[in-house]
Structure formats: C-alpha cells, structure tokens
Amino acid sequence: MSLDGRDGMDGTVVLVDDEEMVLDAIEGFLELETSYRVLGFTSPDRALDAIGEERPEAILADFLMPGMDGIQLLERVRAVDPTATRILLTGYADRDNAIRAINRVGLYHYMEKPWDNEHLKLVIRNGVERSWLFRQLDERLEELESANEELHEIRRRLVRTFL
C-alpha cells in the first residue's frame, strides 16, 4: 500500500448488479480506496461481452437479476475465462438458493447484502491477486512447455548430427 491509502495493485474488476445504487456505492468506494479499473454493468449480457474483451481479474455479480441470475452469469464467465475470480453478492433472503448453486460455479466467495466495505475490499484484493497468480502460473507453464519442446528439438538435432 502506498502512502495515500491506495492498494497500489493493478487489475480490472467487473461489477454486475441491476441496481444502479449498488454499482455506484461499490464503484465510489473502490475508486477511493484502490487503483483498480472498475467497470459496472446493470445488464448481465453486456457484462459478459465486456468480460470477453477486457479479461478482468475479478467479477462481482448480484444474485437476483431479471433475465440472467448471478449464478448463470458466473457459470458463463467460468466457460469464457476460468482464471477470473468469481464472487457472488446476495440478498439475505436469497441465501439458501445461492448456497445451493455455489458448487456449480466454483465460487471464490459469496457476500451478503448489506456488505462491509473493508471486507469487500479484502475479498476483491485477494480475488484479483489469486487470478493474477493463476495467470502467471499459466504463463510459466506455457514457457516451460515451449522450452521443453525446444530442448526436445535440440536433442533430436544432436542425435541426427552425431549418430
């Protein structure tokens, strides 16, 4: 953390909630307290389009939305990009339904409304970091794989040259 209280970490966070006031409240808070790029959507469909293009590290979705609920949305996010961290925001009354569906989506965390800002920040920060580490790991694995292939190629050439 830098002196001004910012997180000092980069990353993109997508928020999806059909209630504008919820988006505003979270965006305002994250703008003040972190340096993430925050994209808010009231429409799950538009959020999906953006997630494909922007490759956010974390997605925070409301559970009850008209059209597509948060679980369905996160299920589709998982198909598009499994390394993005998926977080669900639920109203107290929807809790049971949400919990039942959590395993289906491979949820990182679920939060209840009304949420605590400090806790939300922590969850999002850990979620972004987790996704970032996954992607780093992916890259390293790919690098190792291509290095491995190169080694194989070299070995093949050595064998061909000397035998």
Binding site: D4, E19, M21, V22, D24, A25, G28, P114, W115, N117
Partner: protein, 328 residues
Amino acid sequence: MTAPGIVVLVVGGVALLGLGVTVGGLWARRRADRLDRRYRDLEREARELREACRELRASYAELQSSEAAQVNDARVSSVGSLVAGVAHEMNTPLGALNASHDTFRRALDRLQDILADERVDPEELEEVRRIVRAVDRTARTQDLAFERLAHVVDELRAFGRPDDAEISVVDLHDGLESTLTVLGHELGDRIVVERRYGDLPPVECHPHRLNQVFLNLLSNAIHAIHGPGTIVVGTDAGDGQVTVAIEDSGVGIPEEDLPKIFDAGFTTRKERKGMGLGLLISQQIVHQHGGRIEVESRPGEGSTFRVRLPVRIPASGARAGGAGEAGP
C-alpha cells in the same frame, strides 16, 4: 219366570260380566303396555335426537372456529409476507446507503488530512480531485437510496391509511381526469385513452383515496400494455350504484394468477419499484366505501377492472370495515 231360572240368569250374567271385565282389563293392559313401550321408544329416539343435535351443534361451532382460524391464518400470513416484502425492499437501499456512507466518511477523513497539511503540493491536489469524485458518486447513491426508501415508506403509509381524508360528494369524472393528467407522461403517444363516460350522480366518498384506486388501476393498465395500445375508461350508474370500468388491451392475467392478484407482494413489475401492494390497498379502499372490485381477463387480449360503488357510503362500511381489515 221361575226363581232358579232368574238365579241362573243373574249368575250367568255376572259371570259374563266378570269375563267381559277380565278380558277388557287384559286388553286395556296390553294396550297400555304397548303405549308404554312406544313411549319409551319415543323417549329413546328423542334422546338420540337431542344427542345428535348436540353433536351437530358442537361440530358446527368447531367448524366456525376453524374457519375463523383459517381467515386469521390467511391474514397473519398476508401480514407476514408484507413484512418480509418490506424487509427485502429495504435491504438493497440500506446496503447501498451503509456502504456509501462509509466511503463518505473515509473520503472526508482524507480530505481533512490533506487540508490540515499547510504545504499542499500539486500532486496532492490531484488526490483531492479524486476524492471529490468519489464523494460525488457516493452522494448520488444516497440520493437514489433515499428516494427508494421514501417510496417504500409512502406505500406503507398508504397501506396504514391515515383517517384524515375528508368525505365529500363529488363527480368521479373529475378524479378520473386528474389521475389521467398525472399519468400523462407515462401514457405518451404509446397509449390511446378512450373515454366512455355515462351520466354519474355525485358520489359520497373519500376523493383522495378513490383517486389512489384509479391511479393504481390505470398504472397497472399502462404496465400491462407493451408497445402501442388502448385503455378504455367507462362509467355508468344505476340502482344507487356507480361503476367505473378500466379496460386495457394489454397482456392479460393468466388464469392461475387471478386468485393471487389481491395478495400482498403479488407483482409482475420487473423493475422492483413497487412492493405488490397496489391492488390490495385499492381493494381495501373500495371495501371501506362499501363497494367491490371485479376483474375479468383474457390472456393475450387484455383485462377489465370494474370498481362498483354505492352512491352513499353505508354506515358500517367506512369505519368498522376498515378497522378490521387494515392495521399495520
């Protein structure tokens, strides 16, 4: 006639008489026995009837009290779902307010820190601008959340129905017209309103409450129409009664939903602006006037809501009826 002959005759006569009395006595006793049995039978039957009657009365009382319990259950669960609806409706704006208030505090603390420092440099001014942007956004959340909470409280207040509304004798067409004016921007060019007004006598009522009913029914009609459509507002009178009919060319109500439309919490509006109390409140207001609301709907073609009101409020309708049904 000789003396012995007479004696024989007398003895014979006495014997005959004795026989006759004996036979008669026997017959009478048998008859009495029969009557006695009959009487006992009747008495038993009467006892059985009395018993059956008592049982019937008991089970009738039981039925009555269980019916009362059912009505009470329905009322309790209706209030329960109302309370759950209110809690649900409050949760989102409260959550938003809570979070944005927290952001507000943090931002103010930071601004105060910067302002307390006498050597403010340009870089820090950029930080101040950023904080002000966050505060601005927070204030916007609070506007929206307060507005939503105020709306919920308004609906609740209407449900709890303050008794200050005056009774007067009015032309219902005036109320319909002012309600249509209020809804003007929602009707727009999309919906044509056709007026089929009959001759109405002046009606004794709480005009503001009836306007609320008209507002609710017309607003439902508008929401039932997707795209262009028509709303027909008709009135007529007869037999000491007036009828206001609001007919829309909207989507109609599925048959399975018809019994539920007056329940607390029933709504088809997706934008979550209402709590599904509109029709319940309307029905309550119309009941207070001694009237009723009738619904007719054909899915895909539209719905008609008819408000039937007596020209004069019945003595028992306005107060007693309301006190029993309402209550927060």
